[in-house]
Subunit: 420 residues, 2 copies
């Protein structure tokens, strides 16, 4: 994999040029893209040209190439949302996050494959660790592109589990920041209350570098003193749905962190958080039926059966159901803040297990609650199942505690590396 | 003005057809549009054709024509956001709210004039009560179109005061629902944390009918028993910025409501709400600098001086400033909930006074706080200044208490009508 932080440092030191990084990506793309299918659109020659822009190496992202999930508008690439309904769509503006990437000195190398309208119907992308498996979704191409060394940084989004789950399946770092830390205007929304933009990179320090460069926030972990975090091991209400290998990975992670000096506690799981887990689907379905009103009312036949069926059922969710789910959410956020009063982060599984067969992108079981809570999540990727497939665990921070979540993830990543 | 509720009832009773309503609008447009300039785009023949759709009269909006502020995407009209940057822009999809209007049986008659990117630079629209005055902004055409009898319903949006202020200036009912009650995907955002879609119609019962028809929520006031509301008269921290006529209007409204049986209290104004008033500009500026990154970075010369200058200054707002403003907001929302514990609504001014000259759309002084709080606001329009220009007062409900706010506004409207 390409380390964004390492590349940026070498560019900063004058050892590497932005154009040379485009060449590194181009080589990896030539070697792997035909098997992986991470890109919906790609323009290496234009990226090479943009890499010549003077002053790029002095900007925060130092001219690094970025892959952008194909639900974010781009003026210079078609933006098709993973559906034929939008074939050839050319937006008039960049999405806010894309414009911020460019403002920070990033180069958009290509658009990465998304599932249809960021729901569950898979695209063409395969898992770089095993092409007979799914990369996860909906940010399939962003996770696989980073895993295959074709991109140092990629943008994704999560409504259920679409950043953390593919990161876990592909063995890369995924970062879903606190809700609204990365702006969403110019994204194809699915459920506004949940849709959260996120980032993929090789390791925690890489994703933290990218997040800091794009937002201007103090999020880098490579320069920070690495204090041992206070961690709550959260098996949550869905622990039984994790594979034995995943349960073992979470417990191994807790032990490794503890051995490295972290405090581990195991607080009781508040019932309100289980209620909130269930509220996620109500909120998602109610909103999607309205947000996708145009596609459902005008292009129903062009939708996949899985999306059409979901929307058919979503029509029955009432405003009262929705308002009640919002009320549960509000109370659950307070319960979560209370649960985390004496810890820096929660540690839990990123997915039920390793990547499934490619006819599914896997379930968001271990992600929906955290998306609804709006809390920062970081997938830490240094674990494997018996078949050698990646297993990820996630560090969940307090709302607004993105820096603490990244620091704790960085700490765990090092603790796991020391085991090997 | 055209009463949406009255038209809908007559269609329901078979006394009127949707096509006949289009003709009523077309007559008013022929008479007034050249002087008022409410429309950015208009297609009466297509609306007439759509009015023939079978079954339309049985749908919730009964085939009524709707004007849509030109920051909402529409597939069948250019969507130009009030700026030459987007000249000829034809979106590939309808905004979610537009699709919901069509789903509910509404007909999009035209796009209404917005200020440039929904900020302060005025468009061509003039105030129907006095063409030498501003209609207010940024939902200029929506307010003026309803006031001139050219539209029974219009969609707008408010980030500072862009629904309630033009409603006040134009003497129509404006309804800014609780944040996110009407969906915003497909809107041209300015500051996501604040951008709120809203509605205009002649009277409170009309706007409540439209909101109920579009959302499916129980918001109609014409069928409800009208209990006397408990009202807190809120002079707020900006009372001194209201004209003598506006101060008199607010006090007259309180007296009329009291005479009609309402309880009026005058609680002390919490300092936290004054802090939150100041936080609004920080949040708006910080977000706009990011949300409008594409326009600012690529089309700076095409921006008006007033918008460019704001964005120039907004670049200096830090993440720490923004986070602190968000923190104040959270605490202020609780302080507001406490303030409203024993009342149904607050009563306050909708604007500093009557409509200004057309080189400005007037200040959002009396609106920013409520936008930030996310609470429902209804402009009640039956008051005048000594020159006979409309003055509006607003009923502010609890977050989620849209029905109570509409009921209280309906009560006040009747109480004021009884005075005349």
């Amino acid at each position: 994999m390409l380390s964004a932080l390492d590349l940026a440092r070498r560019i900063e030191a004058g050892e590497l040029t932005p154009a040379a990084v485009i060449d590194l990506c181009a080589q990896a793309i030539a070697g792997h893209e035909s098997a992986i299918g991470a890109f919906a659109a790609l323009d290496v020659p234009r990226a090479r040209q943009q890499a010549q822009t003077s002053g790029l190496a002095q900007q925060p992202l130092r001219g690094l190439p970025v892959g952008v999930k194909d639900i974010f508008d781009t003026v210079d690439f078609a933006t098709e949302f993973g559906t034929s309904i939008y074939a050839g769509n050319r937006p008039r503006a960049d999405a806010a996050l894309v414009a911020m990437v460019r403002r920070a000195g990033g180069i958009v190398l290509g658009k990465t494959v998304t599932t249809e309208l960021a729901f569950l119907n898979p695209g063409k992308t395969r898992n770089p660790h095993d092409p007979t498996r799914s990369p996860g979704g909906s940010s399939s191409g962003s996770a696989a592109g980073v895993a295959a060394g074709m991109l140092p940084i990629a943008i994704g989004s999560q409504t259920g589990g679409s950043v953390i789950r593919p990161a876990s399946y592909c063995g890369v770092t995924g970062f879903k920041p606190s809700y609204r830390t990365l702006p969403t205007p110019g994204i194809k929304h699915f459920a506004v209350y949940l849709d959260t933009a996120g980032l993929f990179a090789a390791r925690v320090a890489d994703v933290a570098f990218a997040a800091a460069a794009i937002t201007g926030r103090d999020l880098r972990v490579d320069r920070a003193a690495s204090a041992a975090p206070r961690i709550a091991l959260a098996r949550t209400n869905v622990w039984d749905e994790a594979s034995a290998a995943m349960q073992g990975a979470v417990e191994a992670a807790a032990k490794a962190a503890q051995a490295a000096g972290a405090t581990i506690v195991e607080p009781a799981w508040p019932a309100l958080l289980t209620d909130a887990y269930r509220a996620h689907a109500i909120i998602q379905d109610y909103e999607a039926f309205r947000v996708l009103a145009y596609e459902y009312d005008r292009h129903r036949d062009a939708l996949s059966p899985i999306l059409r069926d979901m929307l058919d059922k979503a029509a029955a969710v009432t405003s009262d159901d929705y308002d009640a789910a919002r009320g549960i959410t509000k109370r659950a956020r307070q319960a979560l803040a209370d649960l985390m009063a004496d810890v820096d982060v929660l540690l839990t599984a990123s997915a039920p297990g390793a990547a499934p067969a490619p006819d599914s992108t896997g379930p968001a079981t271990f992600n929906r609650l955290w998306t609804l809570m709006g809390t920062p999540c970081v997938n830490v990727a240094n674990l494997k199942d018996p078949a050698g497939m990646p297993l990820g665990v996630q560090m969940v921070g307090r709302f607004g505690g993105d820096r603490e979540a990244l620091l704790a993830a960085h700490f765990l990543e090092r603790a796991l590396a020391d085991l090997h």
